[in-house]
């Protein structure tokens, strides 16, 4: 606090007060459908669907998935390394948000293979590709809301990563072992990638 406390600027990048979340992005169509479908399965008395959250955990996202009927498993490692400790086909949904952006291809490819392994046949891997170029970007924590919309903010302790720019073709190549990728362009160059395990 300065002499004139109320004029002081909030400390940048790591102060105690978290920055407010950015305005929400519009609902994610694929995620909204997944949340709705999970609710139908639970209501019909089927096996409780299971979701794996990768990266910095968000209580809001956990509550949204749990509210939709998912049993949520969180792997909060900022840089997960294969092999993952989960069984083959254990999950219906893997949410990785923008974690892949901070990983080189040689690190991401085996991780995608692991995420494919732990998905059941027909299960979904969902992540974001946000970068427009090679640059240092902070690690973000993402909130998923019940209507499928997203918001995010920088984590308090900035962990800058070099963000890899990947073209749609790069993403489809990397996702080929999963059976391909559906890529949706959202605002500000944010791309939403959905992969479904087919084999």
């Amino acid at each position: 606090m300065g002499l004139f406390g109320w004029w002081s600027r909030r400390p940048e990048g790591g102060g105690e007060d978290p920055a407010p979340p950015e305005p929400r992005l519009g609902p994610s169509g694929p995620l909204a459908r997944i949340l709705a479908a999970a609710g139908e399965v639970v209501e019909a008395g089927g096996r409780q669907p299971r979701a794996l959250l990768v990266g910095p955990p968000s209580g809001r996202t956990i509550e949204t998935l749990a509210g939709a009927g998912f049993r949520v498993t969180v792997d909060g490692e900022p840089e997960p390394r294969p092999p993952l400790e989960y069984r083959d086909g254990e999950f219906d949904l893997v949410l990785a948000f923008d974690l892949p952006d901070g990983l080189a291809d040689e690190d991401l490819a085996p991780l995608l293979a692991e995420w494919s392994r732990v998905l059941r046949r027909g299960g979904t891997l969902w992540f974001l590709a946000a970068c427009g170029g090679e640059e240092a970007v902070p690690l973000r924590r993402w909130d998923l809301w019940p209507d499928g919309s997203l918001s995010s903010r920088e984590v308090l302790r900035r962990v800058d990563r070099t963000c890899r720019r990947r073209s749609n073709r790069d993403l489809e190549r990397l996702a080929r072992p999963l059976g391909g990728a559906e890529i949706t362009l959202r605002r500000d160059g944010l791309r939403e990638i959905v992969c479904r395990r087919r084999t």
């Binding site: 089927g46 209580g59 969180v74 219906d92 027909g122 073709r169 391909g180 559906e182 890529i183 479904r196």
Partner: protein, 181 residues
């Protein structure tokens, strides 16, 4: 005290609390006996940073753990705080649980589990509400069933059930995939 040596008027007065309709029972805060509720709110036990406990801790009051505990901690209707210096290898059960240190074990709360910045939890959470601060590390599953243990048992029985919906209706199968790359 002012520069003139007089006591400030505020120093001679205590807050006056009016009770009862007529106010005839007005007493100062100092004279008012502590209520049972107020006493319970401030009362809590502390396990200090140098204390190590192995076994089962059961209590009927709030507890702050700053040391090392292995085993089980049960405070069914009270609040549990795991301090920054605490290292826990135990199952934790309480009304609400705030974790600031390191916990390896399952956490069960009737109201809320809170992971503070800098905390580390490896284990499963069962609670109707969960709060995870930036900087908290968590690895495990979350069960947010709000109706308590009864439904938890039912969901455990359902784990062996097979989905009765056709493949197109299962989670993750809603959107149409783009033609192959």
């Amino acid at each position: 005290m002012s520069i003139w040596g007089r006591k400030e008027p505020e120093e001679e007065q205590s807050p006056v609390i009016m009770t009862g309709e007529s106010g005839s029972e007005a007493r100062t805060a100092a004279e008012r006996p502590a209520t049972k509720g107020a006493a319970m709110e401030t009362r809590k036990a502390i396990i200090g940073p140098s204390i190590q406990v192995k076994g089962e801790l059961i209590g009927k009051e709030d507890l702050v753990i700053e040391g090392k505990v292995e085993g089980v901690v049960r405070l069914r209707d009270h609040h549990l705080v795991i301090g920054k210096t605490a290292v826990i290898e135990a199952t934790l059960e309480a009304k609400s649980i705030r974790i600031e240190g390191t916990v390896r074990g399952d956490v069960v709360a009737g109201e809320r589990v809170e992971l503070a910045s800098g905390s580390t939890l490896t284990g499963d959470i069962v609670a109707p509400r969960i709060s995870i601060a930036d900087g908290a590390r968590f690895k495990g599953s979350v069960d947010m069933d709000r109706s308590g243990a009864g439904k938890a048992e039912q969901s455990a029985k359902k784990k062996g059930a097979v989905s009765t919906l056709p493949p197109g209706k299962e989670p993750g199968a809603g959107a149409q995939a783009r033609p192959g790359s």
